[in-house]
């Protein structure tokens, strides 16, 4: 299998894709997007400063055809979703998104119905375009660096006007070993301050459900779930979160879930290891107090 990885220069994301490439076997090349040195050793490396997926379709399709790649791997992110379908249509290639397992025989698994079911596919043609769900493959260690051949986009259709990063204070969700997440049950944006206080004491990151993000109580970068961040912490505190399957899909690889919810029937308790059935307004301050006493 000759594989092309396409990813921004972010070692963890690239590492996960390299791990998938290794399962498929054979040569792995990379098209790295953005500026800076490319971590890892590849057959060939290409680099393009443009990071807007829509501008890359033509060049990537050409690259795939010219070099005879049999698999194109992207992460299941905004970039991956912007490129995968168009590449598939341009190349006449099967496209499978949000992949959570692959086999060397080109069988792949992906979730359906918010993770309530998992489908297995057998890919019968190449090239195939796959987007890989984050946190399902241990990132490979990227030794060395590879000097790239530079690709420039001649006539970009989409102009980048500005980037507005959301700067996270404290621990990033992606790296967090402990996450404290709030849902619609928090009742308001100000109430997230108790979660931030608790997270600060535990060196944890703060997350949110789509319910809370839709209410405008937390930025979308904090959303945990199948269409937000896929996370894999040691402990995940779910506070005022009902436990919809699409939320649980984002914490499938969390080791221990602690649920605080005033409804004992809430679905989150089906996923939780420990459950506290009460108003978070009573319990979270008690928990903060207990953490302080321990320190």
């Amino acid at each position: 299998m000759k594989t092309l990885i396409i990813e921004k220069i972010e070692p963890k994301k690239i590492g996960e894709l390299v791990s998938v490439g290794k399962i498929l076997g054979g040569e792995i090349d990379i098209l790295a997007l953005g500026e800076g040195p490319i971590p890892g050793t590849y057959g060939r490396a290409f680099q393009c400063p443009d990071i807007i997926g829509a501008n890359l379709v033509g060049s990537v399709a050409e690259l795939v055809q010219k070099n005879g790649y049999q698999a194109v791997l992207l992460s299941a992110t905004t970039l991956g979703s912007e490129l995968a379908g168009r590449l598939g249509a341009r190349l006449g290639a099967p496209v499978l998104s949000e992949v959570i397992a692959v086999g060397p025989d080109m069988t792949v698994k992906r979730p359906l119905y918010g993770g309530k079911a998992v489908a297995e596919f057998k890919i019968a043609a190449n090239p195939a375009v796959l987007t890989i769900r984050r946190k399902y493959f241990e990132p490979a260690t990227l030794d060395g660096q590879t000097a790239p051949e530079i690709i420039r986009i001649a006539d970009p259709a989409v102009e980048l006007l500005s980037e507005e990063p959301v700067l996270t204070q404290g621990v990033r969700l992606e790296d967090a070993e402990i996450i404290v997440s709030g849902g619609r049950g928090m009742g308001g944006s100000d109430n997230f301050s108790v979660l931030r206080e608790m997270a600060g004491l535990l060196h944890a990151a703060v997350g949110a459900s789509r319910g809370a993000v839709d209410e405008g109580w937390a930025p979308q970068t904090m959303q945990v779930g199948q269409t937000g961040n896929i996370v894999a912490p040691g402990v995940y505190f779910a506070v005022g979160i009902s436990g919809a399957s699409q939320h649980l899909a984002g914490i499938a690889n969390a080791k221990c879930v602690v649920a605080v919810n005033k409804d004992e029937e809430a679905n989150i308790f089906k996923r939780a290891r420990f459950g506290v059935v009460c108003d978070y307004k009573n319990f979270v301050p008690a928990l903060i107090q207990a953490i302080r006493e321990e320190q």
Partner: protein, 251 residues
């Protein structure tokens, strides 16, 4: 300005995992059917553009004509008309080709809005394939759209924040959810009026599916082992919880 919003009818996406059942490779037919959540965000975005720019908003769906009563919700929300392309394929290339046919028949579509992903197959692929088939640009995860000077200026959400982008010409956008596009709840009068609206019905076309066969679909096992902590004294409950998390080496 003529905008098309794509809407797919799906089985109730709020059914909890414990109650979920398959019939063959798909959700059991007993579940209530509804418009996908992100597709409702797309419809809402379309209505807001209609209100802002005086656009015409057409809803297009590929599926069974039995789902027409469910799709009428989009009319009740504020869309102008509804067309259904009749077919039963789940293949993203087949669906995209059928949606393309309906869009091209309308002749004057300037913008296609899709949901970020369907709420049953959770794919996020059909809209991008459609864009390529239409020969136009596709942008993912769009949360705000403005039109001016012959160009679209949009906000695209991504993992680290968002960015503003500009492009001209016909485009397909996948719409993500934001506090600004929470789907409106239609008024009873609008629901009644929507029932009377004529619906365009198109016969689906046959076209080759992608070369990746679905081998099987299974429900993953979820073991429930929740230990509910005593609530007699919350201070003690908190201490017990911390103790247990440390004992099991989670903290």
């Amino acid at each position: 300005m003529h905008i098309a919003a794509l809407a797919k009818v799906v089985p109730d996406y709020e059914v909890p995992a414990g109650d979920f059942e398959l019939a063959g490779n798909r959700a059991h037919s007993r579940y209530t059917r509804m418009i996908g959540l992100y597709d409702e965000n797309a419809v809402e975005t379309g209505i807001q553009l209609k209100e802002k720019y005086g656009a015409v908003l057409s809803i297009i769906s590929y599926g069974s004509s039995a789902d027409v009563p469910i799709l009428r919700k989009a009319i009740a929300m504020g869309a102008d008309d509804l067309s259904i392309v009749q077919g039963d394929s789940d293949d993203p290339f087949v669906i995209a080709a059928n949606l393309k046919m309906a869009i091209e028949q309308m002749n004057d579509i300037d913008l296609v809005l899709a949901g970020q992903q369907s709420a049953d197959l959770d794919r996020g692929v059909v809209h991008a394939i459609l864009a390529e088939m239409l020969g136009c640009t596709f942008l993912a995860q769009i949360s705000e759209i403005e039109s001016g000077n012959g160009a679209w200026t949009v906000r695209q959400n991504h993992e680290n924040g968002s960015r503003m982008l500009r492009l001209s010409g016909r485009a397909v956008f996948s719409i993500t959810s934001s506090p600004q596009n929470v789907p409106r709840i239609p008024a009873v009068r609008a629901i009644m009026a929507a029932k009377k609206k004529p619906v365009g019905k198109l016969q689906g076309i046959e076209t080759p599916p992608m070369q990746a066969g679905e081998v099987k679909v299974e429900i993953p096992k979820m073991e429930s082992v929740c230990e509910f902590l005593s609530l007699d004294d919350l201070g003690q409950t908190a201490k017990t919880l911390l103790g247990k998390l440390r004992e099991e080496r989670y903290l």
